[in-house]
């Protein structure tokens, strides 16, 4: 990448850039060109063996256990885990060499259109994995505590490692979902939009673009991610607010929000927190407001083999609650939070970047589309 996508990303030394790009390319190769070939072993060996064994059922855990014994898949687990850790470390090394320059730029952008509200006293939830998805230090940068580095690393990692997936601004998700939402709800004109667990704002900014007259706010528990996100949004001249709050209890008034959503947040929490988030969404929404939560499709959308693919994330990529979250009955949970069944929906948002010609397999989305489930109050 010769041009940086925004002013809060700085060009690294060429060798560091090569290493960073390489780990992303290897991850893509392992996911898109190696793993899909293992389904044949499931079809021809594992499925018949499980079907013939009266003591075992054809569920995703049984499939995953059997697939772990398949040599090529075992090798994939090892290489994929190493590549994931190395990819984040490669980005962090670059950020560590640039922290002073990044801090200077963030300070210069401090009066920019984006607003930052930090609450250092906000407790960091203990259900968030310390090294979530093998990013050393995790979202709160435990052990190092730099005010920006965790956010800068996360931004580089998703922009570089997944540049074919979500664009250099990692905004394909936001644009694609906003487009699908306005298609499904053409009368919907939110005045206040809230994203829960916004991290650095990759998905948040497209919603300001889609609804330019709305107040757009993102909350997160991570100070470094919010601080970086605000500087990044100012660099991109986008007037959004980043506020350090816990999605379970944001502190915003009842019925003060028209659109509340999350993207790949809930699988990183826990059952109690997820239920609290759904209840908080119901409390926050005005009548007619919309809640949605986007993540990988829940298990009830997938065949057992595709469910079993999550075994790697759960046991080797520090995503233990995926097992719980993807098994939740979302509609039952939305009902428990107070939403009406006849106002619930599940949607798939086609990836706009894939429609423009990118290979769906490289984007690592399911056939080039994003899943979301929600309800209208």
């Amino acid at each position: 990448m010769t041009d940086m996508p925004h002013a809060m990303m700085l060009p690294p030394r060429s060798g560091d850039a090569t290493r960073e790009a390489y780990w992303g390319e290897l991850q893509t190769f392992l996911e898109a060109e190696v793993r899909p070939g293992f389904r044949a072993h499931y079809r021809d060996v594992v499925a018949p063996a499980l079907a013939a064994d009266p003591g075992r059922t054809l569920d995703w855990r049984g499939i995953a256990a059997a697939m772990r014994r398949y040599g090529p898949n075992r090798a994939w687990y090892v290489a994929r885990t190493e590549a994931q850790r190395q990819a984040f470390d490669a980005s962090r090394v670059i950020v560590d060499g640039q922290v002073d320059a990044l801090a200077e730029r963030a300070a210069a952008l401090g009066n920019g259109p984006a607003t930052l509200e930090i609450d250092p006293a906000l407790p960091f939830p203990d259900y968030v994995q310390q090294d979530a998805h093998n990013m050393t230090g995790g979202y709160e940068d435990h052990g190092q505590h730099h005010p920006l580095a965790a956010g800068a690393t996360y931004d580089r990692a998703l922009s570089i490692h997944r540049v074919a997936a979500m664009g250099p601004l990692v905004d394909d998700v936001g644009h694609s979902i906003a487009a699908r939402l306005t298609q499904a709800f053409p009368d919907f004109a939110p005045r206040r939009i809230l994203e829960l667990g916004c991290t650095v704002g990759h998905t948040l900014l497209p919603f300001k673009a889609a609804f330019p007259d709305a107040d757009v706010v993102g909350v997160d528990v991570s100070g470094p991610c919010l601080a970086f996100g605000a500087a990044r949004a100012s660099a991109l001249e986008t007037a959004v607010t980043f506020s350090q709050r816990n999605a379970e209890h944001t502190g915003y008034p009842d019925e003060s929000v028209d659109l509340v959503f999350s993207r790949i947040l809930l699988h990183e929490t826990c059952e109690a927190a997820t239920r609290a988030v759904f209840a908080e969404c119901h409390r926050l929404l005005r009548p007619g407001g919309i809640m949605f939560h986007s993540d990988a499709p829940p298990f009830d959308e997938l065949d057992p083999y595709d469910q079993s693919l999550r075994d790697w994330d759960i046991h080797f990529n520090a995503e233990p609650f995926m097992a719980g979250y993807y098994a939740m009955n979302l509609e039952e949970e939305f009902d428990r939070a107070g939403f009406r069944r006849d106002a619930m929906f599940r949607l798939y948002a086609p990836s706009l970047i894939v429609q423009r010609g990118y290979r769906a397999e490289q984007t690592r989305t399911r056939g080039g589309r994003y899943f979301l489930a929600g309800a209208r109050k």
Binding site: S14, G15, R19, L26, R69, R74, Y77, V78, E82, Q86
Partner: protein
């Protein structure tokens, strides 16, 4: 049996971790050399073709071979088995 061991714990697993990590360093080195050759060509010094066509003079060839032999000794020397003590 090896496939019953938890993933990541066997010697083979650890070897694969190491070789995977090492693969990045090979790529980084090769690309840096590629860049050096491109810059040298851009500055009118020499190009990749000069490197491809290079034939070392006898003294240099011996020196390169000695370096290769030393590398083999350092990296693979431990493959020798000790003669049994009597």
């Amino acid at each position: 049996m090896p496939q019953d061991e938890p993933i990541g714990t066997t010697v083979a697993d650890r070897s694969l971790q190491i070789t995977t990590a090492l693969s990045a360093e090979v790529v980084v080195l090769r690309e840096r050399l590629d860049i050096v050759e491109r810059l040298a060509a851009a500055h009118g010094l020499f190009g990749p073709g000069d490197v491809d066509a290079y034939v070392p003079e006898p003294g240099v060839a011996e020196s390169l071979a000695a370096a290769r032999r030393a590398f083999i000794e350092r990296i693979f020397g431990t493959m020798r088995v000790q003669a049994p003590r009597r």
